[in-house]
């Protein structure tokens, strides 16, 4: 069991690393799906089968499809990849990467210096328990999440619509920004 965890963990870290370094958006997206799938395996290993399923269905399925749609809509292909190559120069990423490394080192230190728990056995939390607690103590939060999703839908519909810009003629810019 532990071996499977370590392998999937390595896969997810590798895939994530690839996501943030790819030039082509489609490649990055595919790596992200790999990362999500491996995370779903980890969820399953940690005794959360319901979360693992949701990860695959909603994340890797629905959300990533949205991304693909957008990439297709915008027709981001080879040109984007070329541009990304220009943008992603060591001069740009060394600093942030170094800072991120510091954060990780600090997290590492904090996690490993914390007092270890004696009881470290991981137990399965099945979907029934999740469902019971979701619709009993968390019912209000569920309602709120529903409203949030609705707001997301309305907002997306509103922002996404193609409007002819009806600016005043003095405000119209002759050259694009």
């Amino acid at each position: 069991m532990d071996t499977i965890f370590y392998i999937t963990a390595a896969v997810s870290v590798f895939a994530t690393l690839m996501v943030i370094t790819r030039h082509n958006p489609v490649h990055a997206l595919l790596y992200l799906i790999v990362s999500l799938l491996s995370l779903s395996v980890i969820f399953y290993l940690l005794g959360a089968p319901f979360a693992a399923l949701l990860e695959i269905i909603i994340y890797a399925g629905a959300i990533m499809v949205l991304f693909i749609f957008v990439i297709m809509l915008l027709n981001l292909g080879k040109e984007t990849a070329k541009q990304e190559k220009e943008w992603l120069k060591p001069r740009i990423w060394v600093g942030p990467a170094f800072l991120s490394l510091i954060v990780f080192a600090e997290l590492f230190y904090l996690i490993y210096t914390s007092v270890p728990e004696t009881n470290s056995a991981i137990q399965t939390v099945d979907s029934k328990m999740v469902a019971v607690s979701l619709f009993k103590p968390y019912i209000l939060a569920v309602e709120l999440a529903a409203m949030l999703l609705m707001a997301g839908v309305v907002g997306a519909a509103h922002i996404g619509q193609h409007k002819k810009s009806n600016l005043h003629r003095f405000l119209k810019e002759t050259d694009d920004l």
């Binding site: 942030p96 800072l99 991120s100 510091i102 954060v103 600090e106 997290l107 230190y109 904090l110």
Partner: protein, 629 residues
Amino acid sequence: MNNLLWLIPVLPLLGFLILSLAGKSLSKTSIALIGVGSVSLSALITILIGLNFLNDPPAAGFISQTLYTWIEIGNFKPEITFLLDPLSLVFVFVITFIGALIHVYSAGFMKGDKDYSRFFASMNLFVFSMLVLVLADNLLLLYLGWEGVGLCSYLLIGFWYENPQNGYAARKAFIMTRIGDTAMAIALFMIFSWFASLQISDILLKAPQLFQQGDTTITIIALLLLAGGIGKSAQLPLQNWLPDAMAGPSPVSALIHAATMVTAGVYLIARMNVIFELAPIAQMTVAIIGAATLLIAGFSACTQYDIKRVLAYSTISQIGYMFLALGLGAWTAAIFHFMIHAFFKALLFLAAGAIIETLHHEHNMFKMGGLKNKMPVIFWTFLIGSASLAALPLISAGFYSKDPILWYAWSAEKGNMIFWAIALLGAFITAAYTCRMVIVTFWGSSKTEIGHMPGSLMTTPLLVLAFFSVVAGFIELPHNFGHFTLFSDFLHPVLPEVTMGNETWPEWIFQLMASLATFGGIYISYQLYSKNPALILRLKQSSLATALYQFWFLGWGFDRLYDILFVKPLTYLSNINKNDIVDQIYSGISFISIKLYRLLSYTQSGSLRWYAMGLLLGAIIILTIQIVT
């Protein structure tokens, strides 16, 4: 009858309120009716109350009427109370009576002016302020009137405000008198801190108990009061606003600068006579200032060519006589001279105004000439006024009022020969410039076309004033003939009698010398300006005479002196501090804030990646704290 007292000041106030609020929508006739009517009615009431006062003197020696309590803080309780005693009765009479005559005259004089209602509103307010000043029973109310008078003089001197010169003259008058007003305010503070009251009767009663003769405090108070009086009355250090104040219309000059406002200082000192009697140094200063002023103004008057400026300097000079009398302790003589002076000076100003108006606003008297036959009414009234000013013996009122002052200048306890000599020289000069003015204006050849003659509205007040300029003198006759002392007897309940000291020649010698001085002045002027004009030309060729002429013409260079002493250093200092050092501190603060804001605004770059970087740095800091602690 006596309870109508409050109407005397309130009527002009009512006139002012109506005219200033509704003046735009009233016809000229109704404006004149309201403006003249309000003052005339209060003059009428004054005469009625005055007659009542004379026939049936009140037991207390005064009439007082409280309208309401103005302020009430603990013991400090100044009320709006009008108090009429013989001294204020004289002043009220002069103010309302002469004021009414001047208003009648103005109704004709200002006929063509577009700001008819503003003029009468200001005049009414002026009369109101002056009445409050003289009727006040406490110093705070007096100060209210005092400041109101200053304000109105500003409004009226700058009445023709389109000309910046007039605005300048108005500001000059306002600022110069303000210097005196400040001193007076300090005097009031001191009086309040020592007497714990501003009630005039209280102060006069308590002063001899609180202070010894010549105490420093009472001397300072007296000197500060004197400074206030000097400012209003245009005496020596603060005299140079008055000639410039002739920028206003002639009736204004008559009302403010001859009859009433400038005598506020005389009133104040007379009212506070107890304090001045307790401070011999201050009283001596009053006399010295009076003597110096009458001489300086007299010399300046000799050199002016603007007829109104001659009269202005003569006003300063005559008030100098009053101050001299006050300083000598001859209180009643000063007040008597004030009354007579008010009559003839108002007459002279009004007559001069009529001449100027007829000659199309020609002020230069050397361009007048030959008006004797063309304007007989003006000529005769002007002549009577001039005779009074020059103190022509026996027939003019001016003689009877000025002669006692000359006599007291030496014979009074506080007098001496120098005062007398100065006063005599002043009388000589007065006669000289008066005669010069009359000769140049009315004799000789005509130089300016005359316009339409003044109407009866303007000449009637002149005739009335001329009548009083002759007759008013007979109510007080010198000791050696008649010894008829109606006026001083009337005033003695409030004003102490003059203390005689020095043994000198008999009084008739003084009168003879004063008469000789008058005739000498007239003779010299006659020689120079009528009989023998070549003498003038010869005088003009000598450099000393020309220099003196220039010096006197500019009022002894006081304007220049003040310019160098005060205006120049002030502008120099303000030039140094042009950038305002204190302001630099504040602009420095704003400068630093702007710099800091610019610095901070760099963080608001709008670049999302920088914001994310900030988040990361924040995370590092928080985690580091976590680790370190």
